[in-house]
């Protein structure tokens, strides 16, 4: 069978990649072991959060799947950091697991250029050094001009639970070990990481009445602006906590945890430690929060967030029974840890392509990241660019100054990973500009140029642009301090007439005092108000971006950094692993000095001469 692009893996990266290639017009095959599992949420049933919610909105700005599917399946909405500046507000949705996956499958089925292929991807077909398709285990050959690998933890995955060991990614599914062997043959740099999950509980056996609840947000915001309204009834989460007894049980069984017995050597995520780790490292705490998250409207499973573990079954049972409200809770699936291979993402370029094999793209957990949102965002990047490669379209680039996607791609391809990479707003130096609520404004034009927006989205974009123009015009009007006083703002009477945008920077001034009479969509107004408030900072950051003329200096990936006089061994190692594409990218690599940059530039010019 002949396609433009073949995507392997039906998780968050794979589905987003396949949908993106199809939106760009490429005929696409999505290969999955078991198409009925496409769109599964293999970890907790939440989408979004701080930094992650930003990624979701950015993928959505390209008409991606994740935000709209989360809205269809959303049973609990929570805007994190509601009291703080909107740049760090993180939209998060608890999703009905089954409905989420079903929605993803429905959305994919609507893409006419997309074919779902059931089968195990056994090996890549390589022609002339480039990726030319995929050989399935049953001998079927799928040929294509580009291949996106989004294989998650299926690559060399190994499961640990107490004394138990099993090969595979998720429980009950085989691991793609044959493909893994072939990738090793490509001599891409690889390493191992680990992650874990908590035991799943039967919600009918939890004593909800005794536990404090966290209701869904009242105001009807949605993950995607394309969603009209929430469709599912909203559920509450409950909160309980571990106690001294729980800690005693865990501490007494640490020698049976593969994390502590030495069976697992790989680094796990610091921001998502196992309960064993928490008790070991923060021994002084008398309890840790456990969020009880329902997995679905009509699903009895509950995800106890905060107690991921790989302790043996009997210890897990004892541990659960020691927690308030869970005394009689039944474990449906025990928690476990997974150790898996990932490739060193520094071997990739910014389009997530493998320069060593033209036409091959990698996305998701296989690149050393964690999280649905990180995976989805990489799927988008790889999909957009695999389609470009296969169909001769313009590549789509993301940079640090305009998107969290750009921050992540830059971090991955330049710095690599030492733990599963998760997005945090602290990673974005242009955080004040990169807000979850202005993702459309930042990215719509790029998405439109890439040809992957629906007509409804394009129309929305035009309406918003017009509205923004009107709001900006309104904020350009000037007022005297006296007039501000009349509007109710206790500003100093300094006689200076200022624009409304300038007045918004004053702590005494509230938007309501200045916006009376303005009729525009609240989200557009909110965005303009935030821009005005942070204007001095945004201007300073814009100047920083403009001064990065080193972005113009391209570096080839054939540079032998070892041959450049004056670079330290450490710099040579880091530069060689990352192969930065511009001098500006080289400057962001840790430990690279201004003098080293000049030496690199000299070397480049000398070769060009």
């Amino acid at each position: 069978m002949q396609f433009d692009v073949i995507v392997i893996g039906g998780g968050h990266a794979g589905t987003e990649a396949a949908a993106a290639t199809a939106r760009r017009g490429a005929s696409t095959a999505l290969v999955s072991f078991d198409p009925s599992t496409i769109g599964s949420m293999s970890c907790n049933p939440a989408i979004g959060g701080l930094g992650k919610g930003h990624l979701v909105r950015e993928v959505d700005a390209f008409d991606g799947l994740i935000a709209r599917a989360a809205d269809v399946a959303g049973l609990h909405y929570r805007m994190l950091n509601r009291s703080k500046g909107s740049a760090v507000q993180g939209p998060r949705v608890q999703a009905d697991r089954r409905r989420y996956a079903a929605t993803i499958r429905t959305m994919l089925s609507r893409e006419t250029r997309l074919t779902i292929v059931k089968g195990e991807a056994a090996s890549l077909i390589v022609t002339g050094g480039g990726a030319a398709g995929v050989m399935l285990a049953d001998g079927t050959a799928l040929s294509g001009k580009a291949v996106v690998l989004a294989t998650g933890t299926f690559l060399g995955g190994r499961i640990f639970r107490g004394e138990l060991r099993a090969d595979g990614g998720r429980i009950g599914e085989p691991a793609a070990t044959r493909l893994a062997d072939q990738l090793r043959g490509l001599s891409l740099p690889m390493a191992r990481l680990k992650t874990g999950t908590p035991p799943r509980l039967d919600g009918r056996t939890i004593d909800w009445a005794r536990l404090p609840v966290q209701p869904s947000d009242d105001d009807p915001w949605t993950m995607s602006p394309m969603t009209d309204r929430r469709v599912l009834p909203q559920l509450s989460c409950a909160v309980t906590r571990t106690n001294a007894r729980t800690h005693e049980i865990i501490a007494g069984a640490l020698d049976r945890s593969p994390l502590f017995s030495g069976a697992i050597g790989a680094q796990g995520p610091r921001y998502c430690p196992s309960i064993e780790d928490k008790i070991h490292r923060f021994a002084d705490r008398d309890g840790h929060q456990v969020f009880l998250e329902p997995e679905g409207i009509d699903d009895r499973l509950v995800y106890p967030n905060g107690i991921s573990t790989s302790l043996p079954d009997d210890v897990q049972r004892e541990m659960i029974a020691s927690i308030e409200g869970l005394e009689r809770a039944r474990i449906v699936t025990p928690g476990y840890a997974v150790e898996y291979d990932h490739i060193d993402p520094r071997a990739l370029d910014r389009s997530l392509a493998v320069p060593a094999m033209p036409g091959l793209y990698m996305a998701g957990q296989v690149n050393g990241t964690t999280g649905y949102e990180e995976a989805a965002a990489q799927g988008l990047v790889a999909g957009l660019n695999a389609a470009a490669h296969a169909c001769g379209l313009a590549p789509v680039g993301f940079d640090r100054a305009t998107s969290y996607i750009g921050v992540m791609v830059d971090d991955l391809t330049l710095q690599g990973v030492t733990e599963p990479y998760r997005m945090l707003t602290a990673r974005a130096e242009y955080r004040l500009h990169l807000r979850a609520n202005n993702a459309e404004t930042r990215l719509s034009a790029v998405a439109a140029a890439a040809g992957c927006l629906s007509s409804a989205r394009l129309e929305r974009m035009r309406v918003r642009e017009r509205a923004r123009g009107e709001v900006d015009e309104w904020l350009g009007q000037t007022r005297t301090p006296h007039e501000l006083r009349l509007a109710g703002a206790e500003v100093a009477l300094d006689g200076t007439r200022r624009t409304l945008a300038e007045w918004l920077r004053f702590a005494q001034v509230t938007p309501a005092q200045l916006l009376q009479g303005l009729e525009a969509e609240a989200s557009v107004v909110g965005e303009a108000v935030e821009d005005a408030r942070y204007a001095p900072y945004l201007e300073r950051q814009a100047a920083e971006v403009a001064s990065l003329h080193d972005e113009q200096v391209r570096l080839s990936n054939a540079i032998d950094y070892g041959a450049i006089a004056g670079l330290s061994n450490e710099m040579v190692e880091r530069l060689s692993a990352a192969m930065p594409d511009t001098l500006a990218a080289a400057s962001r690599i840790r430990g690279v000095t201004p003098a080293a940059l000049t030496a690199i530039l000299l070397h480049v010019r000398r070769r060009a001469a």
Partner: protein, 425 residues
């Protein structure tokens, strides 16, 4: 648009002449702000350099419009008197102009290269030079890692990272119980304490004090024997000594080391209030400036009040018969050498408090600038109401400190965050 960059491009001072280069789009504007009307391209002309009403130096100024310059950009060269005081003052004046920044190592070469001003052979030679430069940086960095300076900066960095982590944890992990931000007052107190510690460090003498030497200025009215005394202190004939009042029409700088401490002795033109000789008048202007910037003033006047309370009164010509020295003066003879030891002891006493610590913890000028930036950003963070803006200022402060030690990035802050807060569901 590229910055306009400035740096001394001749050898380190003191030297006979210092060549300061200024390159970039704002070069001409910045140069004329300091030197007045610029000469024709590629014609040397003498200009008096001023900043904030103060005459800094009389210098040779050369102007090279783009692209016919060494860097391919608009370029101005200032050939100034090569004492460190002058070089520093001129650099400072230029850096105060809009769009002008200090050149990073190798920056002029880079611009030359980018604008196609270097041929292959030159590039080879420069490559070696740059290699040497980065090696030197490397050695310095290695030496620095052992030093007290590194410990001091690391100490500031650790505290800053701790505060930043407690802010970031509140921003990035809002939904976790461990992630409650420190209270506003606690945060501001911590920032203020850190800023004060940095400020104290900023007020200590810079390591350059040792490189450039302490400025000892000999001042007084004409014919008081300043030049003779200078020669005696320097142990060589530097100034022209003659009995005609006003012989030293410009100031003369001599570098000497005494008991391991470097000094730059400056012999000024005598401070006459009015002079008919215009050249001498200029010398007098410069004498006043030298006095203002002196570390030690040797005041060769018997009766006029001290120009600064810390000036040392010196009674020269002690060899002259019948000379009666004032009671508060050190009597010295430049001819016989009498009283010189006592004078040197007084000079050493005067600079004792200005000696940078010898334990390697002294800052250099660049480090001082970055630390000052960090302190300013911390002050701004303490003022900011919005936690996001607090975090933004702390990020700027972190990157300033990172530029001192070369350690880096958000990872260091995350290490603190995950080390101190139990995060993770």
């Amino acid at each position: 648009m590229a910055d306009t960059i400035v740096a001394l491009s001749s050898g380190p001072p003191p030297a006979a002449i210092g060549v300061i280069r200024l390159s970039g789009p704002q070069a001409f504007a910045a140069a004329s702000a300091v030197a007045g009307p610029l000469p024709e391209p590629r014609r040397a002309a003498v200009r008096r350099l001023r900043h904030r009403g103060l005459v800094l130096d009389q210098a040779l100024v050369l102007v090279f419009p783009a692209p016919g310059s060494a860097t391919g950009e608009d370029l101005v060269e200032f050939h100034v008197h090569g004492g460190l005081a002058v070089v520093e003052a001129v650099e400072r004046a230029l850096l105060a102009q809009p769009g002008v920044t200090a050149a990073a190592p190798g920056a002029f070469t880079r611009r030359a290269l980018e604008n196609g001003k270097l041929d292959l052979a030159q590039v080879e030679a420069l490559g070696d030079l740059l290699a040497a430069q980065t090696d030197a940086q490397h050695r310095a960095a290695v030496a620095g890692t052992e030093g007290l300076l590194r410990r001091t900066i690391d100490d500031f960095t650790a505290e800053l990272l701790g505060v930043a982590a407690s802010v970031e944890v509140a921003l990035d992990f809002a939904d976790e119980e461990d992630a409650e931000a420190a209270s506003d007052t606690e945060l501001r107190d911590r920032l203020e304490r850190l800023r004060k510690r940095m400020q104290a460090r900023l007020e200590q003498p810079l390591v350059e004090a040792l490189h450039r030497g302490f400025r000892v200025v000999l001042a007084g009215s004409p014919n008081r024997g300043k030049s003779t005394l200078l020669n005696a202190l320097a142990g060589r004939e530097m100034a022209i000594v003659s009995p005609v009042a006003g012989t030293t029409r410009d100031r003369i700088e001599v570098s000497v080391a005494h008991e391991g401490v470097p000094f730059v002795l400056t012999d000024t033109a005598g401070l006459r209030t009015a002079s008919d000789d215009p050249i001498e008048a200029i010398g007098i202007d410069r004498a006043r400036e030298a006095i203002e910037r002196a570390d030690v003033i040797l005041w060769l006047e018997d009766e006029l009040p001290l120009p600064r309370p810390d000036a040392v009164r010196v009674a020269s010509h002690a060899d002259v018969v019948d000379r009666v020295a004032p009671a508060d003066a050190i009597a010295v003879s430049g001819v016989t050498g009498a009283g010189l030891a006592e004078l040197w002891a007084a000079i050493h006493r005067a600079v004792a408090s200005k000696l940078p610590p010898e334990d390697g913890s002294a800052l250099n000028r660049r480090q001082h600038r970055e630390l000052a930036t960090a302190a300013d950003e911390i002050a701004a963070a303490a003022q900011a109401g919005d936690l996001l803006l607090v975090a933004e200022h702390l990020r700027q402060a972190r990157s300033a400190l990172d530029r001192v030690t070369g350690a880096a990035g958000v990872e260091a802050m995350l290490d603190q965050l995950f080390g101190r807060f139990c995060i993770g569901k």
